[in-house]
Symmetry: C2
Subunit: 372 residues, 2 copies
């Protein structure tokens, strides 16, 4: 059975259970939603309309692109509707024969002024816009990858590993000297390996800048991998799916504080990995790392990890907030990325991508602390 | 007078005229708004709250960064409010003493579910969320650049021109052979010249891909600048402000159709530039180009131009839609980018950045059709 049909079939069931007759998804500048790609194969800049009767209508900005990429029932170009989402939804609902008073769910991120226009134009329908509705359901679905997705992520991770090894060789041989050297190498090698490119802007922070979680700007012409701690955070995107790793380069004679920081991060990494298994609340892993760092009078200024896939950050969340109810499940692909940062001694972060399996986990990437 | 104070003073006047006691601006993942940077110097990931009494409160995700960058009256870290915008606005409104029943305007792009939470938490205020309100006013302000902004854009444009010349030399000498070669060169040279990086993902499309307006993926390991038409669209971001140019490389013996296409684009460029002057509706320039192309039985599948600044696309719009009411005014910095695309013969686009002056315009970049 076709992957997209299968994913949509799950949603049609959800719609029936929740008395939702029509679901509207939108991907546009300023309001990106990879659910369109996930459910249709079309990369984005489109509306996707699902009906409880099993119709899937794509309304793309670029009709020709849609003809090449979309696996849907109907393609209705956006230009037919004066390029306005409200007009498109109203006319398409009429076209596929949605009965009056049906419930139409629009994206939870719909701005309030646009919501008012939907309500006005669809006055004979019950327009719903809510947190915890269709978008949350798709987020839940997307957090557990199917076989096709795991294969693509594994491919992204394999390219990532090749690049990590090449980076280590080129640092050792002196070919990589600056932040822009390493960022350029990643981008080029990813594309030459058939990837779409990088999954997000590479962060390459040499010893004077590695104390920041996310250096600004992300990379410069300044030195990388000189004496002290350098951090490199990057991802490779393959067929839409991104990896996300961070390696630390520790060069020259380190201070005791730097050695202690690296040891703590590696210890936290190991402790957390043992908790990355089905049935464990992701919050537990995060709290375990917090406790471990607290004992050493240190704290981590960011989350322990997150899901990866069509987005560089997606479900599940892996953090210590009270409202985090995510639980590891087989098929989730997540990052594990403990880090500590010190304005004087620099930062250390170690991040790999981990597939949750039936029995525990499998690490998909080979990022590490590289010592020179 | 300090730049940010001056910009905010304009807004305080607007607030008084429109009976708005408090304005809330937000920049966060998924809802970016450079107005925060424009009004405070802080690059983003923050709430900015302006009160009619002249208070400017920044609520940043990263307190340390804010201390280095923000020129505001008060910095109140987001962590104080449980990292929730509604809590932050409620508590800060109380802290600066906003009287009950005052009008509080929140961003027009606030999702409907979040709007409901604002209304609930701020029950004793009049919460407004609308198109055509504060965000539209800031968009209008930002469309006309002040002296500080023009200086930064000129710097971005100067770096851009240096890179264009280098690209031409390296294509002629054979150093640039692939799309990734030219994209990597741009990114590296921009950073080495002190720029933040590129203003958006570079689009480098060799002869087999230049027929697309925006090639997907934007660049690959494939050939660039071989026989036929190649398109290169890029921008350099300097201190937050981006340039945006497109050059076409025409190599080898061209077909008559290709020659005609280039001539048409250059003709349209020249005709439109004459209309880029104060008092002319931007729609007029767009319609003039449409008419010129229509006479040749061709049409352009994108807008003629747009404003540039803290965003790669901002006001004014320069397109032929009926609802486009923008008029060129001195201080606007805009693109002019006629283009024609043919699945068989490839595409040609010529784009430069243009400053509207008191008497006409001044072209800030030197992009061109490069013939090999």
């Amino acid at each position: 059975m076709d992957t997209y049909l299968k994913r949509r079939a799950e949603l049609y069931t959800w719609m029936a259970r929740n008395s939702v007759a029509v679901v509207v998804l939108e991907d546009t500048e300023g309001r990106r939603d990879p659910a369109i790609r996930y459910l249709s194969g079309h990369p984005g800049d489109a509306l996707l309309i699902l009906t409880i009767t099993g119709h899937c209508v794509l309304c793309p900005w670029d009709e020709h692109l849609a003809e090449m990429t979309a696996q849907v029932d109907i393609i209705a170009p956006y230009t037919e509707f004066g390029r306005h989402p409200v007009t498109a939804v109203r006319e398409l609902a009429a076209r596929v024969g949605v009965p009056p008073r049906s419930r139409i769910e629009i994206p939870a991120i719909t701005p309030y002024p646009l919501f008012l226009r939907y309500v006005e134009a669809l006055f004979d329908y019950d327009v719903v816009c809510r947190d915890g509705g269709i978008n949350a359901e798709i987020e839940r679905m997307r957090s557990v990858k199917d076989g096709d997705e795991i294969a693509l992520i594994e491919k992204a991770c394999a390219i990532t590993d090749g690049i990590i090894d090449l980076i280590e060789r080129n640092i050792r041989s002196g070919k990589i000297k600056t932040e822009v050297d390493v960022a350029a190498l990643i981008d080029r090698e990813a594309r030459l390996a058939g990837a779409d490119g990088t999954g997000f802007e590479t962060i390459a922070a040499g010893p004077t800048r590695s104390f920041g979680i996310h250096a600004v700007p992300p990379y410069t012409g300044g030195p990388f991998a000189g004496a002290g701690l350098s951090i490199l955070d990057f991802g490779v995107k393959y067929a839409g799916y991104t990896s996300d790793v961070t390696l630390t380069v520790a060069a020259g004679e380190l201070t005791k504080a730097q050695e202690r920081q690296i040891a703590l991060v590696e210890k936290a990494y190991k402790a957390a990995l043992a908790l990355y298994r089905p049935g464990v609340a992701t919050r537990e892993a995060s709290l375990a790392v917090d406790a471990l760092f607290r004992k050493a009078n240190r704290s981590m200024p960011h989350a322990l990890g997150h899901g990866i896939g069509l987005e560089a950050h997606e479900g599940p969340a892996i953090r210590n907030r009270d409202d985090n109810e995510w639980v590891y499940a087989p098929g989730m692909v997540v990052t594990l990325e403990p880090g500590l940062y010190d304005p004087k001694h620099g930062g250390c972060r170690l991040e790999n991508d981990v597939l949750i399996t039936e029995t525990g986990n499998r690490t998909l990437t080979n990022s590490r602390v590289i010592r020179l």
